[in-house]
C-alpha cells in the first residue's frame, strides 16, 4: 500500500492532467494517482514524465535502455519491470536488455560505441557525478550532439528522481503503457 492515498477519482484540479496521462499511457499510472494528492506537483511532474517517455532527440528504444541502466545503477525498483517490457515493445532484443546489467555491456556485441559511452556515463553519475572526467565525456562527444547530451543527462537524472520517489512512496506500476507505443 502506498505511503499516501491513491486518488482514483480525479478532482477538478487534476482532471486535465489525468486525461493527458490517459491519452499518453493508455491509462492513468498509479504514480500519477499518488501524486494527485498534491495537484500542483501532479501536474508538473506528470508533464515532465510524459515529455521524457516518448520520442526525443534520442531514439526512444535506446532511451529505455538508458532508463533501465539508471534504475539498476542507482538501486531503484519502481517500475523496473514496466520499463523492461517497454524496452522490448520498442524493439530491443532480450540480449540488449539483459546486457545492460552490471558490466556486461562493456564486452557486449549488441551495443554501438556511442551506446557504450552512455552506459559508462550512467555508471559514473550513479557513482559520483562530480567526477565525470574526459575519459567519460570525450567518447560521448564523438557520437552525440549537444542537444542529445543534454537530453541524456536529463533522462538519467530524471529517472534517478522518479525511481527514488516511486520507491519512497511505495508505488507499483507493473505496466506503464497499456496502448501500442509504436
Amino acid at each position: 500500500m502506498p505511503a499516501t492515498a491513491v486518488i482514483e477519482k480525479p478532482t477538478d484540479e487534476v482532471a486535465e492532467i489525468f486525461q493527458k496521462a490517459e491519452d499518453h499511457f493508455g491509462h492513468v499510472p498509479n504514480f500519477v494517482k499518488v501524486l494527485a494528492n498534491n495537484p500542483t506537483f501532479c501536474k508538473s511532474l506528470t508533464e515532465f514524465m510524459i515529455q521524457a517517455l516518448g520520442e526525443g532527440r534520442i531514439d526512444w528504444a535506446f532511451k529505455e535502455l538508458v532508463i533501465l541502466k539508471t534504475l539498476r545503477a542507482t538501486g531503484a525498483y519502481y517500475s523496473y519491470g514496466a520499463h523492461e517490457k517497454l524496452a522490448a515493445d520498442l524493439g530491443n532484443s532480450p540480449e540488449r536488455i539483459g546486457d545492460t546489467n552490471n558490466s556486461l555491456w562493456v564486452a557486449s556485441p549488441h551495443f554501438t560505441a556511442g551506446e557504450k559511452a552512455v552506459f559508462a556515463y550512467v555508471e559514473q553519475i550513479a557513482e559520483d557525478p562530480n567526477d565525470v572526467g574526459d575519459e567519460i565525456w570525450n567518447p560521448l562527444l564523438k557520437h552525440w550532439d549537444n542537444g542529445q547530451l543534454l537530453e541524456l543527462s536529463a533522462v538519467i537524472t530524471t529517472f534517478l528522481n522518479i525511481g527514488r520517489m516511486g520507491d519512497t512512496l511505495g508505488v507499483s506500476d507493473p505496466i506503464l503503457f497499456s496502448k501500442a507505443v509504436r
Partner: protein
C-alpha cells in the same frame, strides 16, 4: 568549465527565452544551470516548471521547510553548486547559520532550532537519498504525525527533484556564477565533501575572489 555551452539569453530560442524570463523574474538572474538547458529547449520548458513549483511558499509546505530538505539532500550528494546557492536562499528566508550547520549528519535531532516535524522530514530525506528501502516504520509514523498526504508528496517531490538537478548540474560541470564568489561555505565547513572530485571543486571555488 561546463561540458556543454551555456546558451545566453541573446541566443535563446523563444521557448528557452520564456523559461529564462520566468527564471530571472523569480531569481533575479538567469543561472548557469538554466543556461545549459537551453541546448534542448523542449526539456528546459518542462523540467523547470517543477522547480518553479518548489521554490515558493506552498502550495502545502512552507518554503523554509523545502529549503531544509534541499540543503540536506544536496549536501549529502556533495553538490557545491546547490549547497552554496541554497545556503544564501535559506538565510534570506530566516534559517540562521547555526541552524544550517546543524543540518549536517544527525546534529539536527538534538538541536534546539528544529521542530519535531522538521526532524521527521530530515530523517526521511536521509533515507530517500541513501536508500528508500531502509526507511523505518518509525520514520514514516513521525512524518505522518506532522504532515498530510499532500505535504508528503511535496516533501518527496522536493527531495527527488534536488537529487535530480544536483546530479544533472554536477555531471555537466555547471559552475557557480561570479556573484557567489567570496561566499563562505557553511555546511561544507562543518563537514568536507566526501567525494574527492567535489573536494577539488570546493578548493577551486574558495580560491576565487569576490567580484566587484
Amino acid at each position: 568549465m561546463a561540458r556543454l555551452p551555456y546558451i545566453e539569453p541573446a541566443d535563446a530560442d523563444p521557448v528557452t527565452k520564456k523559461v529564462y524570463d520566468d527564471a530571472e523574474a523569480r531569481f533575479e538572474m538567469v543561472l548557469n544551470i538554466f543556461k545549459i538547458t537551453g541546448n534542448a529547449p523542449e526539456i528546459a520548458e518542462k523540467m523547470w516548471d517543477i522547480y518553479f513549483d518548489i521554490l515558493q511558499e506552498g502550495p502545502t509546505l512552507p518554503w523554509i521547510e523545502k529549503e531544509l530538505l534541499i540543503l540536506k539532500s544536496t549536501k549529502m550528494g556533495d553538490c557545491l553548486y546547490c549547497v552554496t546557492q541554497h545556503e544564501v536562499v535559506s538565510s534570506r528566508l530566516g534559517v540562521h547559520q547555526e541552524k544550517q550547520e546543524h543540518i549536517v549528519g544527525v546534529e539536527y535531532r538534538k538541536s534546539p532550532h528544529y521542530t519535531p516535524g522538521e526532524i521527521a522530514i530530515l530523517d526521511l530525506c536521509a533515507h530517500v537519498v541513501l536508500r528508500p528501502e531502509t526507511i523505518p516504520a518509525v520514520v514514516w509514523a513521525e512524518v505522518k504525525k506532522h504532515y498530510t498526504d499532500a505535504q508528503i508528496i511535496e516533501i518527496v517531490a522536493t527531495i527527488g527533484a534536488y537529487l535530480q538537478v544536483s546530479k544533472f548540474g554536477d555531471a555537466l560541470g555547471v559552475q557557480l556564477e561570479e556573484v557567489w564568489h567570496g561566499h563562505e561555505p557553511v555546511l561544507f565547513a562543518v563537514e568536507a565533501p566526501t567525494s574527492k572530485a567535489s573536494q577539488h571543486h570546493l578548493k577551486e571555488f574558495m580560491a576565487k575572489q569576490p567580484v566587484g
